[in-house]
């Protein structure tokens, strides 16, 4: 399939290799086929949108790319080297951060604890090394700074438990965590699903800013205007396969939807 090669961002032609490259990903759940041999390339400095009908395998694809699921078949390459993610932790170690659909935040923990969950900072000196004490103060002030830096104004107090936040604010926490720690790739599965117009725009702005900082973003979304607004390229997923890769310039929204639903081919 050479379609995706043709639609790479012009600036990356002709030598750049993909930051993240998946080939022939297969994932089955019993008799249900989630992914049926999917390829995907993500290049430096781009926003790659992934669209598709419900059940097309978008979330399964994201999980297989980020260690949340182990694909039955297929390869992953990160900057040209093969990688095998056995768990989300593995992908995180490579700087790949993900917001999973349905939000993976812990309701009873506060915002700062959620941002640092699984990578808590320890106090300096023996308090940290021997007594394993967390540096709660630093984690809180860093969290606050990070939220400010990301322009997420709706979260003021990082000591509030997630369960006391609105759906949009929870989503903001999940997005902030990915944006704060994603040093190589940021992956967002339906990050604006629960958000209002203003909050959605903040997330889109955040995605652009990440791209401008050189961090490529994979964005799964149902919202065509959002996709056509921020995406450099659009991966269309259909029935567990990649149906096409298009760009906002090469196709209209109507055409994209037609490919998505099988009414047309690219």
């Amino acid at each position: 399939m050479t379609l995706s090669e043709d639609t790479r961002p012009a600036s990356t032609l002709p030598y750049t290799q993909p930051v993240l490259k998946a080939t022939g990903l297969v994932k089955t759940y019993g008799r249900v086929v989630g992914l049926d041999g999917v390829d995907l390339e993500l290049y430096q400095g781009e926003v790659l949108a992934v669209i598709g009908d419900n059940g097309a395998g978008k979330s399964t694809l994201i999980k297989c790319l980020t260690g949340a699921e182990i694909p039955d078949e297929g390869q992953l390459h990160l900057q040209g080297s093969p990688v095998h993610f056995k768990r989300p932790q593995d992908a995180k170690l490579y700087g790949i951060e993900t917001v999973y659909q349905g939000l993976a935040v812990s309701p009873a923990l506060d915002i700062a604890s959620n941002l640092y969950l699984g990578r808590e900072l320890r106090k300096p000196g023996i308090l940290g090394s021997v007594f394993r004490m967390m540096d709660t103060k630093t984690m809180r002030s860093n969290s606050k700074q990070e939220l400010d830096r990301l322009g997420i104004s709706t979260l003021q107090d990082v000591t509030v438990a997630i369960e006391n936040l609105s759906g949009g604010q929870r989503q903001a926490v999940a997005v902030a965590r990915a944006a704060a720690f994603g040093s190589k790739v940021v992956v967002l599965d339906e990050p604006t699903a629960a958000l209002g117009v203003r909050e959605s725009n903040q997330v889109l702005e955040l995605i652009r800013r990440l791209r401008d900082q050189g961090i490529p973003v994979i964005l799964v979304s149902h919202n065509m205007p959002h996709v056509f607004d921020v995406a450099d390229r659009i991966h269309i997923q259909r029935l567990g396969k990649r149906a096409a890769v298009i760009t906002p310039q090469s196709h209209t929204m109507t055409e994209a939807v037609a490919i998505m639903t099988g009414a047309a081919t690219a």
Binding site: A68, R87, P88, Q89, K92, T98, Y100, L103, A104, V105, S106, P107, A108, L109, S113, N114, L117, G118, R119, E120, R122, F131, R132, M133, M134, T136, T154, L155, Q156, D157, T159, V160, A161, E163, N164, L165, S166
Partner: protein
Amino acid sequence: MTTNTSQSSTPAAAGPEGGGVDLATEFLDRSTPLSRIRNLLHRYPALSPGIVLVVAVIVFGVISPRFFLANNLSLITQQVAVVGTLAIAQTLVILTAGIDLSVGAIMVLSSMVIAQTASQNHVPAALALVLGLLVGLAAGALNGVLVTRLKLPPFIVTLGTLNIFLALTLLYSNSASVIGQNIPALITSTGATFNVGGIGITYGVVAMLVLYIVMAFIMGKTAWGRHVYAVGDDKESARLAGIRVNRVLLSVYVAAGAILAIGAWIQIGRADAASPNAGNDLNLDSITAVVIGGTSLFGGRGTIWGSLLGALIVGVFRNGLALAGLDVLYQTLAVGVLIIVAVSLDQWIRKVRK
């Protein structure tokens, strides 16, 4: 979006760090006094058992003048020491949304190994204690492996291992107790008493309190403690956040096993003997203490200290009702009512979540 300038009308709902008006106040401040109480209880799970304990102590003190006698208070602490220790192990497991029906059985198995190796095999006392610890660790590890590898519900796993450990204990001990005289002093020293303001306190009680302090620190201040809460709160979220869920679960059961072995040591001192039947009630009594202590059976919510309060509440109720001259059956009745009230309260408190 409301602006954040309103002066708080509920200072009580502000965080423990103070800090004036914060978002928490704004969010938790949902008008009716009832919901405000609920939010407060939600934020501080040990609050309701704390209140119950204080009220119970006052009421029983008023009913029976003997309640506040030094001897009686000393007795209550001793009665609470073993179940209070087992409740720590139980709290860890319940915080992960599990349950451990085998805590009493593990404790007894460990205590028989300690007593018998020291008395019959003439193993040095310290080494006997280490052997007891190893038994506790191994038993906890078995529970943990079964829960994480076979993906069986903790209830079923520990129901099975409860019977296995029980049978092993009877086999190993020939169903016979070891009396205190035959056990080295180091091992029974947990039953020795010293005086604090006229109240006799055993070293076993001190050991329990030290365990509470250590575990409260670990749960509140270390990443491991936080991961235990996260796993109990929402396993899948914890996994996706990069936490090795199975590793955390396994470590919880192993840690519980270690705590139970210390419980075994305390039990031998308390009873001045090691008996293969000593743990039968403790499996459920530890769950009772944890639940009354405000820890949610759904996981992720509760505190270590709450379980001490829960154990004390049960101890004070039993003691107070007995002093009041009521039959033992009323103690059982009271504990039953306490459990139902505590679980109903938890159910109500959890509705804070949207």
